[in-house]
Symmetry: C2
């Protein structure tokens, strides 16, 4: 067979394997489910008239998130991007600083760095985790940085490298032990972008709770949703207090005076969205079971499809399996795009990994390591329909 014929055949096999799990109808990449107390809480919220940024659902959602993740504190905000923007500020990221982020992540990771006036610095990817490659990063930082006046300096640009922001791709934890060790050794602040990994644990500890701060997202495509929403996690009481301050226009508490003591943000999560979040969080254990069961179903469905393998959680990790992912045997974007086309034409929503961020026009001149693996991972991976309902766990 020609290369195209092989790809076409593989595309058809992929569609067939997905259909054994998803059935004959079309399938979204991820669809939320509202089978619990969602309507009850929304109605209660409306009846209370407290739908905006003050209300008991916001307080409860934050307490529930802290309890579930084991973080000392959670601060609920309008979305994951806003959460990361503030987390970077908590980490002392200043205009002109560089922030190490993976080359493969949703564009919001880099945008949040930009909002601080800082510069994304792209890190190579580990093919096993699809997150940062700690071994290569270690070597890279040892070679190209120096420590001066208590700061880690990029010797090429002269900028301070302030922070390192691993992102747990599709819910699979990055190699946190090694990254923590890098952060310590090079004097960098660790901020975790756990937007995709609510319900994912690294060596038994929840992602987003390892560094100075971490962030979660509750966008409509995430494992639980608040419509739009996010949260900042931290174990530091003072940082949590500062996060609340910055996200509520930096208003100094007073019975009536409008005193604001620094440039602040209108980032707090409305109580209406928090009400939805409280109900969704109750469903998380079931949703996690369903996502894990879906992995098993796909594992069986793809067992005899040669040329692709299903991505499993990394060693010593429990992934939330937010998005199921196929890894193609060949790094071949033509083959990948053909599979994407065939499956999407069939009504099965499949997606590539993000375009590596250093290839986007606004980030093409940012500093970066060699990114050969990032390129390879980008060319090889496809997300397939991952809704919890396909997992078949209803209770």
């Amino acid at each position: 067979m020609s290369g195209e014929a092989i790809s076409l055949s593989l595309g058809r096999q992929v569609v067939k394997a997905i259909r054994t799990v998803s059935g004959p109808s079309s399938a979204a990449l991820h669809e939320p489910e509202f089978n619990g107390n969602e309507w009850r809480y929304l109605k209660e919220c409306l009846d209370s008239t407290f739908v905006s940024s003050v209300g008991r659902y916001v307080d409860r959602f934050e307490a529930d998130l802290a309890a579930y993740t084991g973080a000392g504190f959670a601060v609920a905000v309008v979305n994951g991007t806003a959460a990361l923007h503030i987390a970077l500020k908590l980490g002392g990221v200043e205009p002109g600083d560089e922030v190490l982020i993976p080359a493969l992540t949703f564009v919001a990771t880099a945008n949040a760095v930009s909002y601080c006036g800082a510069i994304p610095h792209f890190v190579e990817i580990d093919a096993r985790t699809m997150g940062m490659d700690a071994v290569k990063l270690d070597e890279y930082l040892a070679g190209m940085t120096t420590f001066r006046n208590g700061k880690r300096i990029n010797r090429t640009t002269g900028n301070v490298i302030r922070a390192i922001v691993p992102m747990h791709t599709f819910g699979h934890p990055s190699d946190l032990n090694a990254l923590i060790s890098i952060a310590r050794r090079f004097g960098l602040v660790l901020i975790e972008d756990a937007a995709e990994s609510l319900g994912s644990f690294f060596q038994g500890r929840h992602t987003g709770t390892f560094g100075l701060a971490g962030i979660l997202s509750f966008n409509g495509n995430k494992i639980i949703t608040t419509g739009g929403g996010g949260a900042i996690l931290t174990n530091d009481r003072e940082l949590a207090k500062r996060a609340r301050h910055l996200t509520t226009t930096s208003k100094v508490p007073h019975r009536w005076i409008y005193e604001h003591n620094e440039v602040g943000y209108n980032y707090r999560l409305p109580n209406l969205n928090a009400a939805l979040g409280c109900a969704q969080l109750e469903q998380l254990p079931r949703l996690l079971k369903a996502k894990r069961n879906l992995f098993k179903k796909y594992k069986a469905a793809f067992k005899n499809v040669s040329g692709v393998r299903l991505v499993a959680e990394p060693a010593h990790c429990t992934s939330n399996y937010w998005l199921q992912t196929l890894c193609l045997e060949h790094s071949d974007t033509i083959q990948r795009d053909l599979i994407l086309r065939i499956s999407n034409d069939e009504g099965l929503m499949t997606r590539p990994v993000w375009k590596a961020l250093h290839r986007l026009p606004m980030y093409e001149n940012c500093p970066r390591m060699g990114l050969d693996v990032a390129k390879d991972v980008e060319a090889r991976h496809i997300n397939i329909p991952s809704s919890a309902k396909l997992g078949g766990i209803t209770k």
Copy 2:
């Protein structure tokens, strides 16, 4: 009587006058009402599973807002601050530019300027409208600016003055004719901060539709609420398209590729909040009637209280009477604070005008005109309980 005794007496009279309208129980500054289709639309939204940034309520809310205001286009976003941030970007505001804003406004007006890397430049207040003083601004700009290479330059700082952002205080329209004329003559972009003035008209035309763009807020304290929300209004199709692009992470439409062509924002209004907005907008005519009726009730209640007057809509304007406002005869912050204390102690939520922004630490070094009237207006005005339900119009 001593000054304090007079103030004490006035404070008690104010409480008594408010109570003739509000009754014996405590009263909020503004409480939202959900007496229409709010439940129904929220439930429909939940049942559709489209709670996030794509959905038919977002489309409908935008269409309804455009129809109501007469703007060509409305783009719904997470809040008024985000709306203003993007509107300023639409207006070409660049880092280092100066933006003319009133000295008396909610801090978000200045913050949005800061997010652009630009500098707020504070404008004197007109005591009649509590908005920008167009006459003084005209004189000021003629004296301190020059036109060079097609740009309006602040001769003192050397910065470009890019835009002028009137804000319609408590729903009362600023002197738009004069401000439009200033914008034209000095080559400035006019962006209206109509966060407080949904339902307010200047010479029959809705506020927020006069300049290149305008913005609305649907925070919990506004005349209608979406929990948190805002909108950008514009008559320019291309600008509306650009606003949609910037507020959805600048993603270039494609069936599956994640291509983003500039630094974008995660600012779109979730469908869940838009569902609430659609129902609230249906109630707006009734809410406006109630707010206007409340003004009449307070007018009668305060008729015989000497030392204060109730603020009425400016000439040739229809205000939404979002917040009812007392103007004290004497510019005396001690008297004002005593009245605030007495009324708040009585469970009647009253509030001063914002602290003038040039007195906040992060904005104290920003350029500004003489702000004597702003100081005077700040010292004289008090908002009193303004919930629509006090207006007694239930249908």
